[in-house]
C-alpha cells in the first residue's frame, strides 16, 4: 500500500514488517513522570504507543497531553479518541491540536459507557460514532476541510485506526462490521484481546475470504494474564471478552507464584501462532499496568529488534 502519511507505524506496516504497538494508560493526576516512566519501559521494543482516552470511563489525564509528552520524548504516539465525551467541534479541535505536534496516528473509538467509570451520573455525547469519527479524520486529512466545509490551513496528516472485536455478538456481522469500517476509511485495526485463537482464526478466514486483509492492516490485540483471578474476571465481567475455559484451567493448574509467568508464556505462544496467520500485520500488546513485561514478551516472541524506517 502506498504511504499516505508521515506515520512511522504506517511505514513499518507498508514495508511488510510485523508491527508492534503497546499502550500506556495516563495517570489519575497531573504528574507527567508517570507517563514518561511507562514509555521508557517499552520505547525500544515497540513501534508506536497508544495512549488510552479515559479508558473504562475513569477520569484521567487527557490522551492528547500524554501523547504530546511521548512526542517530546521523540516517540511515536497513537492518539486514542472516544466519541463519548466530545462533540464534533471538540473532536476536530483536538485532532488539529494533535496535528500541530505532528502526532501522526489516531485510533477512533466509541468508548466504554460512562456507567462503568467514576462519573456514572454524567452525560455522554456520541455526536458521532466511531465509524463517523474515522470518516471525519479522513475527510479532514484527504479533503483538507472541516466537517462544516471550510478549508483547514495545514490539515492533519494522520494514519487512521480503529478497534475491532472479533468476539462480540452478533458474530455474523463481525466481518461486515470490519468491511464497514474500511468503507469509512480506516487504515489499521487493533483488535480486542485475543484468548480464543480458534475463533480469531475463524474470523480472519472470513476476513480473507472477502479480501479485507488487503485493505487494512490488522494488529492482533494481546493482554497477558497476571493470574487466574484476572482471567476469571475478564471472562465474567468484561463485556465482549472471550476467555476459553482451557486458559482458565491452565492458569488455575499453575501454582500461584508461577501464574504471572504462565500468563506471559500464553501470550508469547499466542503471538508465535498468530504470526503464521495470513493477514495479521502485527501485534498490539496491552499489558495493563504491567508495561515492564512488554520488552520480554517482544523479545521472546522473536519480534526484537524493531525495524528502523526513515
Amino acid at each position: 500500500m502506498e504511504l499516505k502519511t508521515a506515520s512511522k507505524l504506517e511505514k513499518i506496516l507498508a514495508a511488510g514488517h510485523h508491527a508492534v504497538t503497546s499502550e500506556c494508560g495516563p495517570p489519575r493526576g497531573s504528574d507527567p513522570e508517570a507517563i514518561i516512566k511507562k514509555a521508557d519501559l517499552i520505547k525500544d521494543h515497540v513501534d508506536a504507543i497508544n495512549i488510552t482516552d479515559n479508558q473504562t470511563s475513569v477520569t484521567r489525564m487527557c490522551s492528547l497531553a500524554a501523547c504530546i509528552r511521548l512526542k517530546l520524548m521523540g516517540l511515536e504516539p497513537v492518539l486514542q479518541m472516544v466519541t463519548r465525551d466530545r462533540n464534533r467541534i471538540a473532536l476536530q479541535s483536538d485532532i488539529l491540536g494533535a496535528a500541530s505536534y505532528d502526532i501522526n496516528n489516531v485510533l477512533c473509538l466509541s468508548g466504554d459507557h460512562q456507567s462503568f467509570g467514576d462519573c456514572a451520573q454524567g452525560q455522554n455525547v456520541h455526536d458521532l460514532d466511531s465509524m463517523q469519527l474515522i470518516q471525519a479524520v479522513r475527510f479532514m486529512r484527504d479533503e483538507g476541510k472541516f466537517l462544516g466545509g471550510d478549508e483547514i490551513k495545514r490539515p492533519p496528516q494522520m494514519f487512521v485506526g480503529a478497534a475491532a472485536n472479533p468476539f462480540a455478538d452478533p458474530f455474523e456481522i463481525r466481518v461486515p462490521r470490519l468491511a464497514k469500517k474500511i468503507a469509512a476509511g480506516v487504515e489499521f485495526i487493533q483488535t480486542q484481546c485475543i484468548y480464543n485463537l480458534d475463533k480469531f482464526e475463524e474470523w480472519m478466514k472470513l476476513v480473507r475470504d472477502r479480501g479485507l486483509h488487503e485493505k487494512v492492516y490488522i494488529l492482533a490485540g494481546l493482554t497477558p494474564m497476571k493470574n487466574v483471578g484476572m482471567a476469571r474476571y475478564m471472562k465474567k465481567r468484561v463485556p465482549g471478552m472471550d476467555v476459553p475455559d482451557e486458559i482458565i484451567k491452565r492458569l488455575a493448574d499453575t501454582p500461584k507464584e508461577k501464574q504471572a509467568e504462565e500468563g506471559i508464556k500464553i501470550c508469547i505462544e499466542s503471538i508465535e501462532r498468530l504470526k503464521e496467520v495470513e493477514g495479521v500485520a502485527g501485534f498490539h500488546i496491552m499489558a495493563i499496568e504491567w508495561e515492564e513485561k512488554v520488552p520480554g514478551i517482544v523479545e521472546a516472541a522473536g519480534l526484537y529488534p524493531r525495524p528502523q524506517v526513515d
Binding site: H113, D129, Q132, Q135, A136, D169, I173
Partner: protein, 221 residues
Amino acid sequence: MIVADKKPIEEIIEEIKDRERILILGCNECVTVCEAGGKKEVGVLSSALRMYFLNQGREVKIDEVTLERQCDHEYLEEIRDSIDQYDAVVSLACGVGVQFMAEKYRTTPVYPGVNTCFLGATEERGLWTERCQACGSCLLATTGGICPISRCAKRLLNGPCGGSTTGKCEINQDIDCAWQLIVDRLKALEKLDEYEKLAPIKDWSTDRAGGPRKVKREDVQ
C-alpha cells in the same frame, strides 16, 4: 405514549407541607395508561396525604380532579372557576401538563407529582420501556424499524459496539442490545446486506441540540 413514574411521596410532602388547600390534579391520557397519574393514582396520593396531615394534627383540604388532558387549553380551562380555592396544585400529568398548568394559572403554584421518563410502550402490566427520543428526524426506515438512538446506550448509528454479548447491552444484562435486534430484524426481512450501508453523520439540529422545538403547520391552522 409519554411514560412517567410516581415521585416518592416524601418529595411531594416536602414541597407542599406548609400548604392548606391542595388540588391533586390527574390526567386521563398517557399517565393513566402507565398508572402514574390517572384517577386511581390521584385517589391513592390524596388518601396518603390526608393521612400524613392527620398525623401532623393539621387540617388541610385536599381535593381530587382528573382532567381529560392537561396538555390542552380546552380541558385545562375546566378548573378556571375553582382554581382560586387552592394554594397549591400537585399535577400528576407529565412535564408538559405541569408546565401548561403553570403557564395558564400564573399565580397558583404547581408541583410535579410524577417524574416524566420517556416515550415508550407497555410491554406488560407494570413494565414500560423506551422506544423514541424524539430526535426530530426519524431514521427507522434504515434500521429495520428499531431505533438505535433510543435503544442503544451509546446511540450508535453504526453499531453494535464491542460490548454486545448474547444479545444484551454491556451496561446491563436486562437491556437488549439494540443492534442485535436490528441485525435480527434485517435478517428476518432478508435485508442483512443493508447493514453495511454507512449511516452518515447525523444532523442533530432537529434534536434537543437545536434548542426548544416547534412544529408549525399552516395547513391546519
